[in-house]
């Protein structure tokens, strides 16, 4: 079995006329992964109900949350009614607002897109944002109305909604149930009929686009690529145009769904590439791979360096774990090049790191991976954004850490990042959501009815307001029906101040936050009330104070714990009670001692759960 000669025959690249590359655009829970599973079954890639559900979502976290974080792409061989065998490349796309850039690169690899809409739910904002992107890329979009077997399905309404909102002709929409398999064969036919084959000169020098990269413990860095010109073959020397670094191609191939090595990937094909790249950060999403000797190679358009938008301090609960955290970050960054990190020292929390993330979900994922895959106990501070501080001396600095934000009066002006948010919701929730946007200092840009019952709001919102739990409140005030999509929209001047928290008279730098002067008082008061419930009662009374500069603007008190004593303790009780006391101290993981007070992780995130603006 180890004889290399015994490998299965290596297929050569089919003609471009028999290649179809497409992605699936869908809102969370609208059935993207299930549909992908059915397509793989129908083309024989998976046995019926083979192994795990949602084959494409490989990371545990992805499967648990039902979302796709890293794109996975598979090749399927489909024998069409015309008797020809087609190579179908299904390119998976991340489904969350934090990963818009990755989505845009994945779309570059496709000629078509399946727009999957839940027959009971209708079109959501995030879906629409991705559809617009797909339209911009000139993809052929096939509407797929899923879950038509549900009793609550209203395919006609959804069809109308797609026509109205997206402007797509839905007469040829595929009606499917990914769960039961209804309509899957027809959908495959539509893909072959409607998605155009790729173009690109296979005799030219090679140019390929990286649309995903990750770390694999066996193969090192694996990149997913779309070849636009020429052929990628093992042994060739290639150059990454953004860095100018040259690598040797070690192997190429496809996932079907397990790894299949091939002798080449030719123009029009999609597959993986393994070079001797050491770090994921050197195989950047959106970068162009060219022939190393092709001095004048032009980069494919659209590359950009990923910029973190949201920042938070990450500290080990036990200071002795600092080296372990440092090593874990180094390893994780091999795998995820989209977060940044640099050392940070907090007076309250000791040595740690300041991490930059694409968004809040990304932040949660990174924290969860650090804790789960590297077995660390971490305290993360509330997220923050990058402020531009114009000093009185004419200098300009960028501050992403509230603890480093200058004192009141020590600056000329502050600029904060803003986003343009598109929020879609049923019209009955417009009132409360408008109120939320106004509380969060939003500026309304547009309000229109997409259909008689669905409204789209466009707001310019400070990013700092969005990271403070905006998403959760949006969901709760709309009973889960509102969806949001956003993109950066520059900076605007704002009257921001640093709000400090004092616990038992001690200023806790890691609890500081930046807020607008107009909301500072309310936020300080709400935060003190919230903290009162989160800080466990101690032997003594603990004062929680919010202050701007030296002025205390709010105060609450955590009452002293009155009693913490074992009622009786005789011979038979000793072993058991001692173990209880020892366990009690072990249960204190994720508590951080600030002076004499122990503060739990939740307290650092208290600001995220404040209901009011």
């Amino acid at each position: 079995m180890n004889d290399p000669q015994a490998k299965p025959a290596v297929p050569t690249a089919p003609p471009q006329s028999r290649i179809r590359s497409f992605c699936i655009i869908a809102h969370i829970d609208h059935g993207k992964s299930t549909l992908a599973d059915r397509l793989m079954e129908a083309t024989g890639l998976l046995g019926p109900r083979d192994g795990r559900a949602q084959y494409l979502d490989r990371m545990d976290i992805e499967r648990e949350r039902g979302i796709t974080i890293k794109a996975q792409s598979v090749r399927m061989a489909y024998t069409a009614p015309d008797g020809e065998v087609y190579e179908l490349n299904l390119i998976d796309t991340p489904g969350h607002v934090d990963f818009g850039y990755e989505v845009s690169r994945s779309l570059k690899a496709c000629e078509g897109a399946l727009l999957v809409v839940d027959a009971a739910q209708g079109v959501e904002a995030q879906t629409l944002a991705n559809v617009y992107m797909a339209l911009d890329e000139n993809l052929e979009i096939i509407p797929v109305i899923n879950k038509i077997d549900l009793p609550s399905a209203d395919a006609e309404r959804v069809r109308g909604e797609i026509e109205e909102m997206v402007g797509l002709d839905c007469s040829g929409a595929a009606m499917v149930s990914a769960k039961t398999g209804i309509g899957i064969d027809d959908l495959l036919c539509s893909i072959v009929d409607r998605v155009p084959p790729p173009k690109g000169d296979r005799q030219a020098r090679v140019r390929a686009l990286i649309f995903d990269s990750w770390w694999d413990s066996y193969k090192g860095v694996i990149s997913m690529v779309r070849v636009f010109e020429g052929r990628l073959r093992p042994g060739a020397q290639v150059r990454m145009l953004s860095t100018g670094k040259v690598y040797q191609v070690i192997n190429v191939g496809v996932f079907a769904p397990e790894i299949v090595e091939l002798s080449e990937l030719a123009a029009g094909e999609v597959g993986f590439l393994v070079c001797n790249v050491k770090e994921v950060g050197d195989s950047k999403i959106g970068d162009t791979i060219a022939d190393a000797e092709d001095e004048g190679a032009q980069a494919l358009p659209g590359f950009k360096e990923i910029q973190p938008m949201v920042f938070a301090g990450v500290f080990p609960t036990d200071n002795a774990d600092y080296p372990a955290l440092r090593d874990a970050l180094a390893k994780l960054s091999l795998n995820d090049a989209s977060f940044s990190y640099e050392p940070e020292t907090s007076m309250a929390l000791g040595f740690g790191f300041r991490l930059g993330f694409l968004g809040l979900l990304h932040m949660e994922i990174v924290q969860e991976r650090l804790e789960r895959e590297y077995d660390l106990d971490l305290i993360t501070t509330a997220p923050s954004v990058k402020f531009v501080v114009h000093g009185k001396d004419g200098t300009t600095t960028v501050v992403d850490n509230p603890a480093k934000f200058p004192d009141l009066g020590d600056y000329e002006s502050i600029e904060e990042p803003v986003i343009e948010a598109r929020i879609q919701l049923p019209q009955e929730y417009v009132g409360p959501i408008l109120e939320l946007c106004e509380q969060r200092r939003g500026i309304q840009k547009d309000l229109r009815y997409l259909t008689p019952t669905r409204v789209q709001l466009v707001y310019e919102l400070p990013l700092a307001e969005v990271v403070f739990g905006f998403y959760d409140i949006l969901k709760s005030r709309s009973r889960g029906y509102a969806s949001i999509d956003y993109e950066p929209a520059g900076h605007r001047k704002s009257d921001m101040v640093r709000l400090d928290l004092l616990v038992n008279g001690e200023h806790v730098d890691a609890l500081s936050l930046i807020t607008h002067r107009d909301t500072a008082y309310n936020r300080g008061r709400d935060l003190c009330i919230k903290m009162k419930d989160l800080v466990p009662r101690q032997q003594f009374e603990v004062a929680i104070q919010a202050a701007i500069g030296s002025r205390v603007i709010a105060r609450t008190t955590v009452k002293a714990m009155r009693k913490d004593v074992t009622a009786k303790c005789y011979g038979g009780d000793i072993s058991r009670k001692r173990k209880l006391l020892e366990k009690q101290k072990k249960g204190k993981r994720r508590l951080k001692a600030i002076g004499a007070v122990e503060i739990p992780q939740e307290a650092f995130h208290a600001v995220l759960s404040l209901e009011d603006g």
């Binding site: 032997q539 714990m561 074992t566 009786k568 303790c569 011979g571 038979g572 006391l581 004499a596």
Partner: protein, 388 residues
């Protein structure tokens, strides 16, 4: 504290009688709702254990005996006499300076106390818990307030040193109701009280007390910590005015009146426990301690299932020793501590210094004690000592 406790080792002997007429709602103790065949099994099991531990018992020469439960008085006067006779065959009981038997008020009458005295008991511990009918109902106790007071009178009249157990902090109790529980006992001349805050433990590996189930069904409230703290503080000052000294977290006594047997637990003395779920401890010369817990159920114990044995090295034993010793509000005797735990005692210097600096502990006259205002935080202080 018994002053001789430090000077001469005074081993204790505990015998667990695992029977109750019914389960009290707050209790998660190990017992059997026993019937006659089970008692025969118990007697046989005790005989087996006495034989199996013959050598250990032969050396013991206990200074105190405590027969607890469960409900020892459920055995009746004859049953208790037989139990003592059984013990006397295996253990030298002639050096006893205290012999206590736990009694439920409903079992106390002149015949019972006479029988107890006849077989050598000089002290009783009465499970009164409360004198309020509503409280007794909540707690699931069988006796009435009148029975409780009668039992106290009978024991005192018979010349038995009488300790009374009282539970504080049941839902609905306030300072006035607490006084109504304590004052009549003091008026009768009770010189020793064990005061427990009502605690509903949740043992990780057992079903726990019925109280929890009742709470889940909305039929009971959990006791309120803040109220209990107030009532415990109230108890301390009320009993102090009456002349009872608060000498251990749960124990109050008139001058010179102590539970000698229980003091052995807090002064690091050896003890041997017999019967299901009974615990034993033996200190070694280096300060380490071997703790031995008998199987919990009557069935397992009677069949001779092996005990759980835990050997604490001197360092861990010394930390545990601090926790136990500091239950004495007058403080632990530092000379005795140093003698018991040797080098490991000196290893505690740093954590003790830190605790003193924090204000948790203080030194007074060769004793180290929990700062008097902080005894209600004894667990938090102990957890830090065990951890440090």
């Amino acid at each position: 504290m018994t002053s001789e406790g430090a000077a001469e080792p005074s081993a204790g002997l505990y015998v667990h009688v695992p029977f109750c007429a019914r389960r009290c709602t707050y209790c998660d103790f190990d017992f059997e709702v026993g019937r006659v065949p089970q008692r025969a099994r118990y007697v046989a099991g005790l005989q087996r254990e006495l034989a199996a531990r013959r050598d250990e018992l032969a050396q013991l020469q206990p200074r105190t005996l405590y027969v607890g439960g469960g409900t020892p008085s459920l055995l009746g006067a004859d049953g208790l006499a037989a139990l003592v006779a059984q013990l006397r065959d295996a253990v030298a009981l002639d050096r006893l300076r205290e012999a206590t038997c736990e009694l439920n008020p409903e079992h106390v009458d002149a015949a019972m106390v006479a029988a107890l005295a006849a077989c050598g008991f000089d002290r009783v511990s009465l499970g009164v818990q409360s004198l309020q009918p509503a409280a007794l109902r909540q707690l699931g106790r069988v006796h009435t307030p009148q029975q409780a007071l009668a039992a106290v009178r009978t024991c005192l009249a018979a010349g038995l040193a009488t300790s009374v157990d009282v539970i504080v902090g049941w839902p609905g109790q306030d300072a006035a109701l607490l006084d109504a529980d304590l004052a009549p006992l003091l008026d009768l001349g009770v010189a020793h009280l064990s005061i427990y805050a009502l605690t509903i433990d949740e043992p990780p590996d057992r079903r726990g007390a019925p109280w929890r189930t009742l709470v889940r069904r909305g039929l009971r409230r959990m006791p309120d910590d803040d109220v209990q703290a107030e009532l415990l503080a109230h108890t301390e000052s009320m009993l102090a005015r009456a002349g009872l000294r608060h000498y251990e977290i749960a124990s109050y006594g008139r001058a010179g009146v102590r539970a000698r047997h229980n003091c052995a637990y807090w002064t690091w003395q050896d003890y041997v426990g017999l019967g299901p779920s009974a615990a034993s401890a033996r200190y070694h010369d280096d300060g380490g301690v071997r703790r031995r817990d008998n199987p919990r159920t009557l069935a397992a114990w009677a069949q001779g299932a092996p005990p759980t044995v835990e050997d604490l090295p001197p360092e861990a034993a010394a930390r545990e020793g601090l926790w136990l010793g500091l239950r004495q509000l007058e403080g632990l005797d530092e000379t005795a501590f140093a003698r018991r735990f040797g080098a490991a005692a000196r290893g505690c210097d740093a954590v003790l210094a830190a605790a003193i600096a924090r204000g948790d502990l203080e030194r007074a006259a060769g004793r180290l004690r929990v700062t008097p205002t902080r005894w209600l935080h004894h667990d938090a202080i102990a957890a830090r000592l065990l951890q440090g």
